[in-house]
C-alpha cells in the first residue's frame, strides 16, 4: 500500500497528456459506417504517434507499456475525452492478444500489423442463440473437408460484426463431445461466401450488435489458432492478458457523469434538494469505490501472473452501478433529459444496460463469485 507514481511515470503522464491533447478526435458518430471509419482512422493516428497496442509487447509492434504506464495512458485518455476503441476493441483487446499467445508465426505476421495500423478490425464469434450465458453449450458446427473447415450455424451478439474484417470464431468440430471439449478457435473471414450478417437494433435505437449466419462457409484450416478441438484452451489463454486497465476509462466516465449531475442539482432553481444530494453522495462514494476496486485489481495484476475470479466482483459492481448512475441522472435532471438532443441521456441510459447483461449477466457473475471466489458448492441438485 503506497503511492507509486515516480518521476519517470510523471514524465510519461505528461507525454501522454500532450500527445492526446493534440490528437484526440471529437464527435465520434453514434453508429454505422461513419463510426467504423472514425474508429479505424483514430487507430491509424495512434499507430503513427507510437501509441498503438499500448499493452502489446514491442516485438509485435506494440508499445510494450508497463501496467502502470497503461493505467496512466487510460487515465489520461479518459480525461482527454478520448473516444471508445469501438470497432477496434475486439482486435486490440482480445483477438490480437490471443494470436500473440497462441498463434503461429505466420498468423502473427499476417494479422497483427494490420490491427495496430488500423487497416483491419475484428469481431468476436462466441455467443449463440439459446446458449446465452452458457458458452460451453455452443452448437455452431465446423466440419473438416480437405484443407478447409466448413462452418454451419449462427452466432449472435457479435459487436460490430457488420463492420468487421475478421472474426474470432469458436465452433464445435467434434460433434461427439459436449461442453468445453471438441471446440476449435479459428480466424473467420467476414468476406467469405455463405456468411450473412444481420444487424440487431438495441433498445437505445443503435445497431451495435449483429447476428451472423453461416451456410457452408469455408475457412482454410491454416486459420485454426492452437489445435483443432482445443479451442477452449485457446480462448482461455487470453484471459491473463487484460490487467483491468481497460476499464479505467469507463470508471472515469461514470465518475464524471456523477459530478455533472451534482453540479446540475446544486444549481437548480429553488436550491439543491438534500434528498437528491444524499442519493448523489452515495453514488459518488460508489464511483470512488469503483476507482479503488480497479486500482486494487491492477495492483494484484502487478503481483500475480494469472488474474483470479475477483475480476467478476468489479464487473458486477460496475454493471449495477452504471445503471443506477444513469437512472439517477434521469430522475434528477428532470423532464429535459427525456429529449434526444444535446447530451443524449436516453441513449446513454439505455445503452448502459449492456454492462449487466452482455459478457455474463449479473446473475451469472454472482454465481461465479459464489463458486470461484468464495468456494461455495455448485448446484443445486434436484429437489
Amino acid at each position: 500500500m503506497k503511492i507509486v507514481e515516480s518521476a519517470q511515470l510523471k514524465q510519461f503522464r505528461e507525454q501522454c497528456r500532450d500527445w492526446l491533447a493534440d490528437n484526440v478526435p471529437k464527435d465520434r458518430p453514434d453508429d454505422g459506417e461513419a463510426m467504423r471509419d472514425f474508429d479505424l482512422a483514430w487507430q491509424a493516428r495512434q499507430f503513427e504517434g507510437g501509441w498503438a497496442g499500448i499493452n502489446w509487447p514491442t516485438e509485435y509492434g506494440g508499445r510494450g507499456a508497463s501496467v502502470l504506464e497503461q493505467l496512466i495512458w487510460h487515465e489520461e485518455y479518459a480525461l482527454a475525452g478520448g473516444p471508445p476503441s469501438g470497432c477496434m476493441f475486439v482486435a486490440l483487446s482480445h483477438a490480437g492478444p490471443t494470436l500473440i499467445v497462441s498463434g503461429n508465426e505466420e498468423q502473427k505476421s499476417r494479422y497483427l500489423p494490420t490491427i495496430l495500423n488500423g487497416t483491419e478490425n475484428w469481431c468476436q464469434g462466441f455467443s449463440e442463440p439459446g446458449a446465452g450465458s452458457d458458452l460451453a453449450s455452443l452448437k455452431c458446427k465446423g466440419e473438416i473437408d480437405g484443407d478447409d473447415l466448413v462452418i454451419n450455424g449462427t452466432k449472435i451478439w457479435t459487436t460490430y460484426a457488420q463492420h468487421a474484417r475478421w472474426q474470432e470464431l469458436l465452433v464445435r468440430t467434434d460433434p461427439g463431445e459436449t461442453r468445453h471439449r471438441g471446440l476449435t478457435w479459428i480466424i473467420g473471414d467476414m468476406q467469405a461466401p455463405g456468411l450473412e450478417v444481420r444487424p440487431i437494433r438495441t433498445m437505445a435505437g443503435l445497431e451495435h450488435f449483429a447476428q451472423c449466419f453461416y451456410d457452408d462457409v469455408r475457412i482454410p484450416l491454416k486459420n485454426v489458432v492452437g489445435e483443432v478441438n482445443q479451442g477452449w484452451k485457446t480462448a482461455m489463454t487470453t484471459l491473463g492478458f487484460e490487467r483491468g486497465t481497460g476499464t479505467v476509462a469507463h470508471q472515469i466516465e461514470l465518475a464524471t457523469r456523477v459530478d455533472r449531475v451534482i453540479e446540475a442539482v446544486k444549481s437548480a432553481p429553488g436550491g439543491a434538494d438534500e434528498a437528491q444530494l444524499e442519493m448523489l453522495a452515495v453514488l459518488k462514494s460508489e464511483v470512488m469505490a469503483l476507482r479503488s476496486m480497479t486500482a486494487a485489481s491492477i495492483s494484484r495484476g502487478m503481483h500475480e501472473t494469472v488474474p483470479g475470479a475477483e475480476g467478476n466482483i468489479v464487473a458486477l459492481y460496475f454493471g449495477e452501478l452504471t445503471r443506477r448512475v444513469n437512472a439517477a441522472a434521469f430522475d434528477l435532471l428532470g423532464p429535459h433529459s427525456l429529449e434526444r438532443a444535446g447530451y443524449n441521456y436516453p441513449a446513454h441510459f439505455l445503452e448502459c444496460f449492456k454492462w449487466a447483461i452482455g459478457g455474463g449477466t449479473s446473475e451469472i457473475r454472482r454465481n461465479t463469485i459464489g463458486e470461484r471466489v468464495l468456494g461455495l458448492p455448485k448446484g443445486p441438485k434436484a429437489v
Binding site: 439459446g130 450465458s133 440487431i200 433498445m203 437512472a327 429529449e339 434526444r340
Partner: protein, 315 residues
C-alpha cells in the same frame, strides 16, 4: 375505514370490456410498427374507443357522465398502462374533470374534442390532433387550448413510440389534480403488472442449462419481488381510489400510490429486461417499451419533493 377492494360485478364488467378491447385492438405488439406510434393506432380506433363510454365514466350524470367514480376510472387507467396506450387516452379521461365549460366537457366526453398531456414546461405527449392540453404545474393541472400554447418540434424523446413537442411557458391557473395523480399511479401500476406477466411468461418457457430459467432462484425470486412490488402499488392505488373524497387524506393516499407505482413500474420494467437477458436489450423485444413509457409518464404531475411533503406532513 373498512373497504372492499375487490371489484364488484359492474366494475369487473367495465374492466373486462376495456381489457378485451385493448387486447384485440391495441395490443402492445402494435408498437413494433412505427406507423402505430404517436397515438396513431389509437386514432385509428377512436370511434370504437368512444363508444365504450370511458370518457365520462367518473362524471356525475348531470354533467353528462355515467355517475361512477374514481375506482372505475382507475381500472380503466390500469388497463391503459398494461397496453401502453397513448397517454392521450388517459388525458381524455382526465380532461372532462378539469373544465366547467359545459360544451367543452360534452365534446371531450363524446370524444369529438381530443385531449393530450403535457409535462410541466417541457413536452406535449402525442399531442398532434389534440384540441386541449392537460398542463401540469406546481399547484395542479389545467386544461389549455392547444392553440394557446407555443409548441416546437423535437428530435424525439426517450420513448420512441411517442411524439414529443417542446412547450414554452407554464401551466397558468391550475386546479387540484389529486384525481389525476391516482390515475397516473394506476397507469404506472398497469405497466408494473404487464412487465411482471411478461417476465414470468418468459421465465416459464425460455430454457437455459437444460431447464426453464424460472426454475433458478435468481429469476424466481426476482419474479416474486416484481409481483410483490406490483401488488403493493396496485392495492394502494385501488385503496386511494376507493376512499377518494370520503374523508381520508386524499393527498397522502395519492402520494403513496404514486410513490409505490413509480417504483414498481421502474423496477419491474428493469427486471423484465434483465430476465430477458440479451434479447431484452434488443429493440425487437417489447421489454424496453415498458421502461421507456414508465419514465416518461412519471414526469407528469407531482414530483418526489411534493410527494415527500404530503407524506410527511400529517404524521
Amino acid at each position: 375505514m373498512i373497504v372492499d377492494l375487490i371489484p364488484d360485478e359492474d366494475q369487473s364488467a367495465i374492466e373486462d370490456t376495456i381489457v378485451s378491447f385493448l387486447s384485440d385492438m391495441l395490443p402492445v405488439e402494435r408498437l413494433r410498427d412505427a406507423a402505430s406510434h404517436g397515438g396513431a393506432a389509437e386514432s385509428a380506433v377512436w370511434s370504437q374507443l368512444c363508444e365504450l363510454g370511458l370518457f365520462g365514466l367518473g362524471l356525475p350524470e348531470e354533467q353528462g357522465g355515467l355517475g361512477l367514480g374514481l375506482p372505475e376510472e382507475v381500472l380503466v387507467a390500469r388497463a391503459l398502462g398494461r397496453n401502453l396506450v397513448s397517454p392521450g387516452v388517459l388525458a381524455q379521461l382526465c380532461a372532462p374533470h378539469l373544465t366547467s365549460d359545459e360544451s367543452v366537457r360534452d365534446a371531450l366526453i363524446a370524444g369529438e374534442a381530443r385531449a393530450a398531456f403535457a409535462i410541466d414546461q417541457a413536452y406535449v405527449l402525442d399531442g398532434e390532433g389534440a384540441d386541449w392540453i392537460v398542463v401540469f404545474g406546481p399547484g395542479g393541472a389545467s386544461l389549455r387550448a392547444r392553440g394557446e400554447l407555443t409548441l416546437a418540434a423535437t428530435h424525439g424523446g426517450l420513448d420512441h413510440t411517442m411524439h414529443f413537442e417542446r412547450i414554452e411557458g407554464g401551466a397558468g391557473n391550475t386546479q387540484p389534480a389529486l384525481r389525476l395523480e391516482v390515475l397516473i399511479a394506476a397507469y404506472l401500476t398497469g405497466i408494473a403488472q404487464a412487465a411482471t406477466d411478461m417476465a414470468v411468461e418468459y421465465a416459464k418457457t425460455r430454457e437455459q442449462f437444460g431447464q426453464p430459467i424460472g426454475a433458478f432462484q435468481a429469476i424466481k425470486h426476482s419474479c416474486a419481488d416484481m409481483a410483490t412490488r406490483a401488488s403493493a402499488a396496485d392495492t394502494q392505488t385501488l385503496y386511494a381510489a376507493t376512499v377518494f373524497g370520503a374523508g381520508e387524506d386524499d393527498a397522502v393516499e395519492a402520494a403513496a400510490a404514486r410513490t409505490l407505482a413509480k417504483r414498481a413500474a421502474f423496477e419491474n420494467a428493469k427486471a423484465n429486461i434483465q430476465t430477458h437477458g440479451g434479447m431484452g436489450f434488443t429493440a425487437e423485444c417489447d421489454a424496453h417499451l415498458f421502461l421507456k413509457r414508465a419514465m416518461v409518464m412519471d414526469m407528469l404531475g407531482s414530483d418526489s419533493r411534493a410527494r415527500r411533503a404530503a407524506l410527511t406532513a400529517t404524521a
